[in-house]
C-alpha cells in the first residue's frame, strides 16, 4: 500500500542527533551560505541579468542575443550558479516554516525580489544566459537551464508551503509555464542534468496543473534516446544511452542518474505506471547489491563523477559525491512511499548517518564534496582537496546539504491506511492523521548512539489503529513492550513491527535492540576490500583515524584480530564532541621497510606484530582533527573466522527473528 508523508507539520525534531544537526544548520551553516552566495557572485549574477534586461541588451526571444561583452565578463562561476541560490532558498524556506529568523527572512525577501525582477517577460529566468547573452536552450547538454529551473521550482514549493505568500511560487509557475510552452509535445529539449522532472511533479502536486506532470513525464520518457547531444562526456554520462524503462543498472554521472530516478518514481506514482516504477525499483536493487559503498556512498569513479562496474567499490578512490548521497536518499524515500518496503528506509538510514553526514564538519562550517572510505597520508587528488572546505568553485554540495538537513523532519514518518509508520527513530513529536483520527507520539531516544527508544502516545483516536516501527536491517532481535508488557511480535514482510490496538494517550512503547559494535565483512565479489573487515555499531559505520591510534601506531600497520574483541566507550573528543569510540583488538604490524618491486614468491602475511587496541570513531566524524590517514576497512590477521561479539542476522535476507 502506498504511503502518504505526514507532512511538514506532522513531525518536529525535538532532541538528538538530527535535531542538533538542524539547529547547527540554522545557526551556523545557513548564515555562512548567505555570505558565500554574496561573495561568490551568485547574487551579483542576478543583478547582472537585471542590468542586461533593463538596458535592452538582454533578450526575451533568445534569438540574436546581444548582451554587452562587458556584462558577460562580469558573470562569475559556472553556468549553474543560480541553483546554489535556489537550494539555499529551499533550506531557508523550511527553516522559516519552523520559526522566525530575521536574517534568513531578509535574505529570502531580497533574493525573491531579485528573481522577480530578473525574470523576463515570458517567464524565462537564468542569470548565466541573460548576463552572458547566450542563446536559450541552445546547449541543453551542458547549460543546466532546466536544472536551474528545477531547483527554482523546488525552492518555490518549499516557500509556498512555509513562509511565502506565493511570491516565489508565481516566479516558478511563470517559468514552468514557459517551459511547457517551449517543450511540451516537442522532441527537443532535455537537460543534461536532471532534476526538473521531480520538481515539475512537485509543482503539479502543489498547483494541480496537469501540464507540469505531462512535461515531467515527457522528459522522463524522452531520455535515453540520444536526444540530448554531447556535453563532452558521452551519452552515458547524461543517462541518455538507454531508455529508463529498459536500463537495468545505474550508469554515468551519479548525481544525474539518481536525481533522474526521483523524477521517474514521481511520474510513475502520479500516473499509476507500475512498469515505470518497477524499472526504477529494479535499478535500486541492482545499485544496492553491486554499486553502493558500506557508507551508502555512490559513484566509484572520479572520472566522470560516475558509477563504476558492478562490485567496483574501491575505498580509496571512491568518489561518493555528497550530492549523490542526497539524491539517493530522496530516491529511496519516494520508493519507500510507493511501496512501504523498509529496505528503502534501511538505505536512507545508512546514507544519512554515514555517507551523507560525513560531508559536514562537526562545527557545520566545512564540507566534503568527495567521500572516500580511506585516505592515505601524502594523499593527492586533482579534483578533491582531501579535507573539507568552506565552499567550492562548483558549490553544488554545501547548499544541497543544507536543504536536506532543513527538511529532515519530512522523512521520519508516514501514514498508510490506518497505520502510522515511524521509519527513523529520533527525538521527535509525530502526528499522524489516520482515518480513525489523529495518533500523536512523543519519541525520546538516544538513537543512533543507543539502541533504545521510548514512544509515548499523546493523542489517539478512540478506535483501533496501528503504530509501526521499522526494524533496521542491521539489527537482530528487537524487543518491544507496551506499558511494560513485552509483546511477542516479529517484523512484517516489509521489516516493520506493526502494533495494532486501541491506543490511549499515555501509552508507552519501549523499543530496544542490541547496538554493541560488530565486525562487517564484504561480499567476496568486491575485489577492492578482500581480506578486510569494518566496524559498525547500530547504523553507524566506523573508521580508524590516525589521530586516535595508541602510541602513534600507523593505521597502515593495523590488522584486526580474528576473532576481534570489540569494546566501546562513550565520551567527548576534542574537535568532534560527543561520540562513542570503539576499541578493537588488533595487531600492530612491523612497519614494512622493503624496497624494490613489491611482489614476492611467498605470501606477505600480516601476522607478525604486537597486540594493540585500535581505536575507531564514527565515519561521519572523521577529518575533524589533523586530517591524517583514515581507513574504514582494516586488514584481518590470520585465518578468517567470526568475531567474538555476537552478530545479528544479515539484513533482510536472513529469516526474521522472533521478538521475545
Amino acid at each position: 500500500m502506498a504511503h502518504r508523508p505526514v507532512g511538514r507539520a506532522g513531525v518536529q525534531l525535538t532532541s538528538g542527533l538530527l535535531h542538533d544537526w538542524q539547529q547547527r544548520n540554522r545557526s551556523v551553516s545557513l548564515p555562512l551560505a548567505l555570505r558565500q552566495l554574496e561573495s561568490a557572485g551568485n547574487l551579483d549574477n542576478l543583478r547582472l541579468a537585471i542590468t542586461g534586461t533593463s538596458t535592452g541588451t538582454g533578450t526575451s526571444t533568445g534569438i540574436g542575443a546581444s548582451v554587452s561583452a562587458d556584462l558577460a565578463e562580469q558573470y562569475r562561476g559556472p553556468a549553474f550558479m543560480d541553483s546554489d541560490l535556489y537550494k539555499t532558498l529551499e533550506a531557508v524556506s523550511w527553516e522559516l516554516g519552523r520559526a522566525a529568523a530575521p536574517e534568513l527572512a531578509a535574505f529570502a525577501a531580497e533574493a525573491t525580489s531579485l528573481l522577480e525582477t530578473a525574470q523576463q517577460a515570458d517567464g524565462y529566468l537564468n542569470s548565466y544566459i541573460q548576463a552572458t547573452g547566450g542563446r536559450r536552450y541552445a546547449r541543453l547538454a551542458s547549460s543546466h537551464e532546466l536544472y536551474c529551473a528545477g531547483h527554482l521550482i523546488q525552492a518555490a514549493v518549499a516557500a509556498s508551503r512555509t513562509f511565502d505568500g506565493g511570491q516565489l511560487l508565481q516566479v516558478a509557475r511563470r517559468f514552468a509555464d514557459h517551459l511547457a510552452d517551449s517543450f511540451l509535445g516537442r522532441q527537443a529539449g532535455l537537460d543534461g542534468h536532471p532534476i526538473v522532472e521531480t520538481a515539475l511533479v512537485e509543482l503539479y502536486r502543489e498547483t494541480g496543473e496537469p501540464d507540469y506532470l505531462r512535461l515531467a513525464s515527457q522528459f522522463v520518457e524522452q531520455r535515453g534516446h540520444g536526444l540530448i547531444g554531447d556535453s563532452g562526456f558521452g551519452s552515458r554520462y547524461l543517462q541518455d544511452q538507454q531508455p529508463v524503462r529498459e536500463s537495468a543498472t545505474e550508469a554515468g554521472h551519479a548525481v544525474r542518474a539518481l536525481y533522474l530516478e526521483s523524477g521517474i518514481v514521481d511520474v510513475a506514482v502520479e500516473t499509476g505506471d507500475a512498469g515505470l516504477l518497477a524499472a526504477s525499483a529494479a535499478r535500486w536493487d541492482d545499485m544496492v547489491t553491486t554499486k553502493t559503498a558500506l557508507t551508502g556512498g555512490n559513484g566509484s569513479r572520479h572520472s566522470g563523477e560516475a558509477f563504476g562496474d558492478a562490485f567496483e567499490l574501491p575505498p580509496d578512490r571512491a568518489y561518493n559525491e555528497t550530492c549523490a548521497a542526497i539524491a539517493s536518499f530522496q530516491w529511496s524515500w519516494r520508493l519507500l512511499l510507493a511501496t512501504g518496503d523498509g529496505r528503502y528506509a534501511d538505505l536512507m538510514e545508512r546514507v544519512l548517518y554515514n555517507g551523507f553526514a560525513a560531508a559536514l564538519s562537526a562545527d557545520g562550517r566545512r564540507f566534503f564534496y568527495v567521500n572516500p572510505l580511506q585516505r592515505r597520508d601524502d594523499h593527492f587528488e586533482d579534483d578533491d582537496p582531501g579535507r573539507r572546505r568552506q565552499w567550492f568553485s562548483c558549490a553544488c554540495c554545501p547548499p544541497n546539504i543544507m536543504r536536506l538537513i532543513a527538511s529532515l523532519d519530512h522523512y521520519i514518518a508516514s501514514v498508510a491506511g490506518d497505520v502510522l509508520y515511524v521509519h527513523h527513530l529520533t527525538g521527535s513529536r509525530i502526528t499522524g492523521r489516520l482515518p480513525q483520527g489523529t495518533l500523536g507520539l512523543d519519541i525520546t531516544t538516544g538513537y543512533p548512539w543507543t539502541g533504545g527508544a521510548e514512544l509515548r502516545v499523546d493523542s489517539a483516536p478512540d478506535a483501533k489503529c496501528a503504530l509501526a516501527v521499522r526494524v533496521p536491517g542491521w539489527a537482530g532481535e528487537v524487543a518491544v513492550s507496551v506499558n511494560g508488557q513485552r509483546l511477542d511480535a516479529g517484523p512484517d514482510a516489509h521489516g516493520y513491527l506493526v502494533i495494532r490496538r486501541c491506543w490511549r494517550p499515555g501509552d508507552v512503547l519501549i523499543w530496544s535492540t542490541d547496538i554493541r559494535p560488530r565486525l562487517t565483512y564484504p561480499d567476496r565479489r568486491i575485489d577492492a576490500v578482500r581480506g578486510t573487515a569494518a566496524v559498525e555499531r547500530g547504523p553507524l559505520v566506523y573508521c580508524f583515524e590516525q589521530a586516535d591510534q595508541p602510541d602513534g601506531t600507523s593505521v597502515e600497520d593495523l590488522a584486526l584480530d580474528q576473532p576481534a574483541a570489540l569494546s566501546e566507550r562513550a565520551g567527548t573528543l576534542p574537535g568532534i564532541g560527543p561520540t562513542v569510540t570503539i576499541e578493537a583488538a588488533a595487531q600492530r604490524l612491523r612497519p614494512t621497510s622493503h624496497r624494490g618491486i613489491p611482489f614476492f614468491p611467498e605470501p606477505d602475511v600480516a601476522t607478525a606484530g604486537s597486540p594493540v587496541a585500535a581505536v575507531a570513531i564514527p565515519y561521519f566524524q572523521w577529518d575533524n582533527r589533523d586530517g591524517r590517514a583514515m581507513r574504514v576497512w582494516l586488514p584481518l590477521t590470520g585465518p578468517a573466522g567470526p568475531a567474538t561479539t555476537e552478530h545479528p542476522a544479515a539484513g533482510r535476507d536472513a529469516p526474521p527473528t522472533d521478538i521475545e
Copy 2:
C-alpha cells in the same frame, strides 16, 4: 662504471619473440600506420601549413598571425598531430637501417620533403600553429610545440644514423637552433609535455653542438618552479610543482613524468652531475617500490592519466598507459647505462614482456592505450574502449609502440670497460667493441618461453676479456657452463654473472634457470589486491581470461588453492598463436546469488566450491579472442601458505644464491 651502448650495428635480432615482433612491426603495423597518418590528417595538416605559409597568411614572426579561418577549420586532430608522424618516421628510420623497404622509403622521402617545405624560414615548424594561425609559444602549457620538436629531433637522429643523408637532420637542426635562439638563457618557455629534453641531448650527441645540451639542461632545471602556467590540470600534472632535484616521488601525468626522467638522466650523464642523477635514481626506486604494477605498468588513475598515491595499485582501474610503459623502459635503460645496475634491466624486462607487449594484438593490427590488470564483463570506461583499437583520435600510443619495437635491438647489450654485457637474452648476434678487440656472440634461445640459452662466441680478441649475462630478479639459481664445464659463479653486486677468460671463437656458454610457473603475492601495503596471488613464469606475468576456463567457469568464481599445484603446456591457441598455458589448481566457487547490501556479519569466505583447473595465458596475449573478463590477480582459498612449486628467492633483496 658507466656503460656504452653497443650501437645499432652491435646487435641484430635473429630469432625468437623480439625478432618476431620486429618482423610483424615492419610488415604489418608500420604499413598500417602509414595509411592511418594519411587518413587521420597528419600529412594533410602539414600540407595545410605549407599552403598557409606559401599564401602569405602564415607567419614567421609569431605575432599577429592571420591565417585564413578556412585553413584553420581544415586542420584535423589535436595540436600534437605532428608527433605521430615523427614517431612513425623514427620507426621507419630504424627499419630502413636494417633492410631496404620501398614502401617505407617512399613514405620517409615524402614526409621529409613535406617537412622541409613546411618549415618556416627561421626554422620553426608546427602544422597546428602554422595552419590555425595560433601564436607561437603562447600556450606552451598545452600547445605541445616543443614536444613535437622533440619527436622531430628523435626521428631526425634516427634517420641520420640509418638511411638519410642528413636531410631530416638539417630540418631538426634548424628547428633546434631556432629553439636555442628563442629560449636559451631566458626564463620563459617550458613545454607542458616533456620529451624535448632527452631529444636535445641526443641531438647534442649526434652533432656535438653544446647549445643543445645547454638548452636541455635549462629546461630540466627550470621545471618545477611554476613557470609553465596552467593547462587546466594543475602544476603537478605537468611536473611543475617541485624542482627535479627535490622531488622524491613520481607525480602527475605518468607519460610526462617519465619522459622528463630520460631527459634528466641524459643531462646528468652528459654534464657529470651526480646529484641530478641521484635524484632521478631515487625516484626510480620509489616508483618501483610503491607505484608500479606487477606488469610494470605505471599510472594508477584515469583522472589526469596520472600516478596515484604510494601503494595505490588497483588492477581494474589502473590506467597504465602504453606510452608510460615505453617511457619507463627508456628511462630504465638510461639508468642502466649510467650505473650498470641490473635492477634497471629487470624492470625493462618486466615492462617489455608484460605492460608494454600487451598493448599490441597478436596480429599487430590493434593497440591498447590503457592496460589494466583486470577487466570485468559489462565493463565500461569513458576513456577506454576496453578492447584494442586500430587507431585513436589521440594516437600517441600506436606509433610509439612501433618506434620502440623497431629499436629493440638497441637495448639488448652494452659495453663497460672490457666487459660485454648481455642484458636481455634473445635470439641475436651481438658485437661488442672492447679495448682488446671485438667480442662477437651468436645467441640462440627460446627465452622468455624457455629458461635456457646458448651463447656461441664467433669472434674474440686475443686476450682476456669478460662476458656478463644478467641473472633476472625473478630467477633463483642460474647455472652456466662454458664448453661443457659448469662454472661455480654467482652474480655480482649488480646482478650479472661475469665470466672473464680468454674467449675463443667456437666457445659455447650455456645459461639455464628454472622457469617453472610460480605464484606471486603482493606486498601487504597494496590494498587493492590483498588476499590474492598471480601466476608468473620466467619474466611473463600470466592472466586468467574467460575464454580459457573449463566448462565456462566464470573467472569471477575462481579461487586459487593454497598451496596451488601449477602445470604448464606449450601449444598454439587460435587467435594467439604459440604460447605456454598454465593450469592452476583452483576452486570453482558457487556463483553468488545474494541480492541486497553486500556486507555481512560473517566472513564471505571463498572456500565452498568444487576443484577446477583454472587456465592462465601470458598477460601480453590477452584480448585476442572474445574480449570477455580477465584477471591477473585471483583470490586465494583457505589460509595463506606457500604454493607447491618451489619459489626462487625474492628479487635482489634476497642474498644471492651460489651457482653450482
